[in-house]
Symmetry: C2
Subunit: 283 residues, 2 copies
């Protein structure tokens, strides 16, 4: 997906949200905004928004000297999500359609997104409560179930810390032998890294790999060769979150995207209301 | 009022709104956004937001070669408001408190603001329908009534085209002999100029002067000496709209501000919900 004009005010809002989240002084906040203003002047509109997001958050880490500014929030969200996990697992296992409800919880977890926090309630408990109340495209999820069943290998592109805990029942549905989970190669916003995956209990149960990139999405030119090989060779790719959609929706390979539509531009492009639980395939 | 960090994403949103309103091509829109990005990098945070607004809209007029890009919209709003005027006048004159209801319609007209159109419904009919339904600070309006009665001369700082039609019953309440209406010195967004005042029937009934500036507010360093003299010497100044509040709220002279709180920053500063009908005095 290209960068839209509307992404510009949003990049600045995100920068300001981050400065406030990190409790920066006015001088640092002003400098950070100026950095984003300068980046926005140079951006390549043909590239997806997470490419600019990567630069913004690199600048934030450079300025604060903090390699993982959202660490404490990621740890908190992980810890709260782990408390909810037994309840999520119980609901999925007692469901008449465990695959469907596992997907619902996985999408619900996508609300835990600090990059889009002006658009969604990022609260873990709220994500849990919303999961089974939202309308989803059951036909698309049935198609996904068949695709998973037919696939020899599934590459699962994870999104955020906290969210990846809510992915666990769905990963179990896919099967430990079949699935490989990919996380970001380095900290960016609250996106999950290998450390977050370990804290979430994923690394003990599943193959988890890094994509080698610190973009808040999966921007293949920035990913490691090892990751790109897995991406190209997996029978099926499942990608969580808006950032992965924005960076991969033009891909020529088969990918199923699961996310909550958060931003007004993307929601409009998809023809859905903001907040919709989206299941989409690449054409 | 100083410029807040939150004004930066908003300046960019305003620029984009304007580009779309004017139906600009992508290339022009991108160039305009870049212009605002550059302005935002150089801005003096101690100055009120309309100073930057002036530069943004000068750039738009320069780029489009259109000296009054909102002219057709201003003419439409004026024409629709004039159709509602007899109903407004009837409601005010049949009211048990004509001064109060005239002020209500004057504030209601402040919704016709294309600079803040992401925040308010700018529809003239809707302004008419809202006028008598909103809660207002009646005590403050009673104080204003006394202040008007005590004043030898009242300088009324108008805001937008269309809105100034809804101001007419209030201007009648103040009295034709007492009041002077000031409008912008040149086109900026849909702010009212002398031409708009003439189209609205104001110039036939009231003394109307230009403030000599094309800022979307009343930024005194940019206003004509003749205007500043009137501003300093009037017994009472009444200022309509958020732009006038932003540029004059730190003034040491007595001013009564009437406007709809539109932006989240200002609403928070004032401690009111967005959409509130505000009556405030300088301290």
């Amino acid at each position: 997906m290209k960068t839209y004009f509307d992404c510009i005010p949003c990049f600045l809002r995100q920068t300001l949200d981050t400065a406030r989240f990190l409790g920066l002084e006015d001088e640092e906040t002003g400098a950070l905004l100026n950095q984003t203003l300068a980046l926005a002047q140079q951006l390549d509109w043909s590239l997806p928004p997470p490419v600019t997001g990567r630069e913004i958050h690199r600048a934030i880490r450079g300025m604060t000297g903090d390699a993982d500014p959202y660490l404490s929030r990621k740890m908190d969200d992980t810890s709260v999500a782990l408390k909810f996990l037994p309840m999520v697992e119980k609901k999925v296992l007692s469901s008449s359609n465990p695959f469907l409800d596992a997907v619902r919880f996985s999408i619900a977890g996508n609300a835990i997104d600090l990059g889009a926090k002006s658009y969604v309630d990022t609260d873990v408990e709220n994500s849990f409560n919303m999961a089974l109340t939202k309308t989803v495209d059951e036909k698309a999820i049935n198609n996904l179930k068949r695709a998973v069943s037919d696939a020899e290998s599934v590459l699962f592109l994870a999104d955020n810390a906290g969210e990846i805990v809510f992915d666990r029942p769905f990963l179990e549905q896919i099967g430990r032998e079949k699935v490989t989970v990919a996380v970001r190669g380095g900290p960016v916003i609250n996106d999950a890294t290998l450390d977050d995956a370990a804290r979430s209990g994923l690394t003990k149960q599943f193959r988890v790999i890094s994509n080698g990139s610190d973009a808040p999405g999966t921007w293949l030119p920035d990913c490691s060769k090892a990751f790109v090989d897995q991406f190209e060779n997996a029978s099926l790719v499942i990608a969580k979150g808006q950032g992965n959609y924005e960076t991969l929706n033009d891909s020529t390979r088969g990918i199923v995207f699961l996310f909550i539509a958060k931003c007004p531009v993307l929601s409009q492009e998809l023809g859905v209301d903001q907040g919709t639980y989206v299941v989409r395939e690449t054409k």
